[in-house]
């Protein structure tokens, strides 16, 4: 479904081991002593899909929100495209944010805007020189990519949960990000829709050569999309490996995710 990116510059690097996101010793405490992250270290290489597993409240979403600067960590270092995002000015951080797509758990569509407006709004803010017809063409293309061009005139309240996530994904893709962060993309969806979303993620990875971090509890999604899996426990990375490696892990707690 996703059209292949014409930019061939990125393609040779797809499977290279160039770190594109590096997190070192990340700490975050909420309130006085609710320590969520206690020294998370992770690296994501260019073109790689990293799945982060963990129980609810283990800090998975907090980790990816720190990457885009939505949450400020107490301690640590986050490097994206070789820039320490924690030391960047607002405008420099925004330059990085344009290159990162973020799919929220709920889709987070602007509920006062139609689907068309949701997509065009983002585009209009960043590409002010685009003519209305060009914006319309890009919106239609983005909706085609997620198979929902019929929904262009609908309001978010008229869409099902799965459709909202697809539109959210289309809105994320419209700026052609190099990194996509997925926050529980299949949560709350039925098995068939979850599989469709997982396949869409895989499609994006293959066609657009993006780098992704996928937060999920859905093992079918993890199996389909993950190049590598990290398991978060007690605020630190507890285990790391491919799906097959972790499925056979000697650690019973890790194995319990796969049962």
């Amino acid at each position: 479904m996703i059209k292949e990116e014409k930019n061939t510059e990125k393609e040779p690097k797809a499977k290279s081991k160039t770190p594109i996101i590096e997190i070192k010793n990340l700490h975050k405490t909420f309130g006085k002593n609710n320590k969520i992250l206690k020294g998370v270290n992770l690296t994501v290489n260019q073109g790689e899909d990293l799945v982060i597993l963990g129980r609810s409240g283990s800090g998975k979403s907090v980790t990816i929100k720190c990457i885009v600067g939505l949450i400020e960590p107490d301690k640590g270092e986050i490097k994206v495209f070789d820039e320490n995002v924690l030391n960047l000015s607002k405008s420099d951080l925004n330059e990085i944010r344009v290159r990162i797509g973020f799919l929220f758990q709920s889709g987070a569509l602007y509920d006062s805007m139609s689907v068309r407006e949701n997509l065009a709004f983002t585009l209009r803010k960043h590409k002010r020189d685009l003519a209305p017809e060009e914006i319309e063409a890009e919106v239609v293309e983005a909706l085609d990519n997620v198979g929902l061009s019929d929904a262009i005139n609908k309001m978010p309240s008229e869409l099902s949960g799965g459709m909202q996530k697809r539109i959210g994904l289309a809105r994320t893709l419209i700026l052609k990000p190099e990194i996509i962060l997925y926050d529980e993309p299949t949560t709350g969806l039925d098995t068939i829709t979850s599989r469709e979303i997982s396949e869409l993620i895989l499609d994006i990875k293959h066609k657009r050569k993006t780098t992704s971090i996928i937060i999920t509890h859905d093992m079918a999604c993890a199996k389909l999309t993950a190049d590598r899996i990290m398991v978060l426990k007690d605020g630190v990375i507890h285990a790391e490996g491919t799906y097959e490696e972790l499925e056979k892990s000697e650690d019973e707690w890790v194995r319990s995710f796969f049962e």
Partner: protein, 252 residues
Amino acid sequence: MILTLKNTFEEIGNATLFAKQFFKEVFVPPYEAKQFVKQCYIIGYKSLPLVAITGFIMGLVLTLQSRPTLVKFGAESWLPGMVALSLIREIAPVITALICAGKISSGIGAELGSMKVTEQIDAMEVSAINPYNYLVVTRILACTLMVPILVFFADAIGIVGGYIGINIHGDVNFYRYLTQILQSLEFLDLFPATIKTFFFGFFIGMIGCYKGFNASNGTESVGKAANSAVVTASLAIFIIDMVAVQITDLFF
């Protein structure tokens, strides 16, 4: 007690920083002209019926309530001037501002609060769109501009209400009624009353946005944000009015 006091000062401090950010962002492009016009329409045009009904009742009731006392002193002819002065200097600005606090401030608080808890504001932020500029600056500016216009409208409708009130018990020509009003009004009656309405508008918008923007996660906080916006904005209106009257008293 100490904790409540500490929280109040903390809240005032945070609201001040929020307002400071408005003055920082308002001059920084991109200017969201379309969104500003849309907010003016929602805040101004859509409040007209409510303000019209309130203004009419204010004028009518004020006339009917004041008439017996003025008749007792043989000063019935002062009624148009007294009604117009009371409306323009105090009643219309404060009542209209309170109506706006109830309708606009709570609406903004609930809307932004709901956007906050459904991560729509975060979605703007991660798309490198400045949500403060797009959502807050436009709403505060629209409130600051629209509330004075709504007050003028309430003044005019209130004066019409007063005319009907006078004609319930008498027979006064509308031209004569208006002439009497214009004769009793001075520029200094209008000027301070108009200036304070800009402050009312600014605080109604600012408090609604502040409460909504800082709603904590969870749908319960949306209701709390709306409720708190009304209470705080209403209180702010009375405080601004008190300060404005004191300043007017000093200089005029």
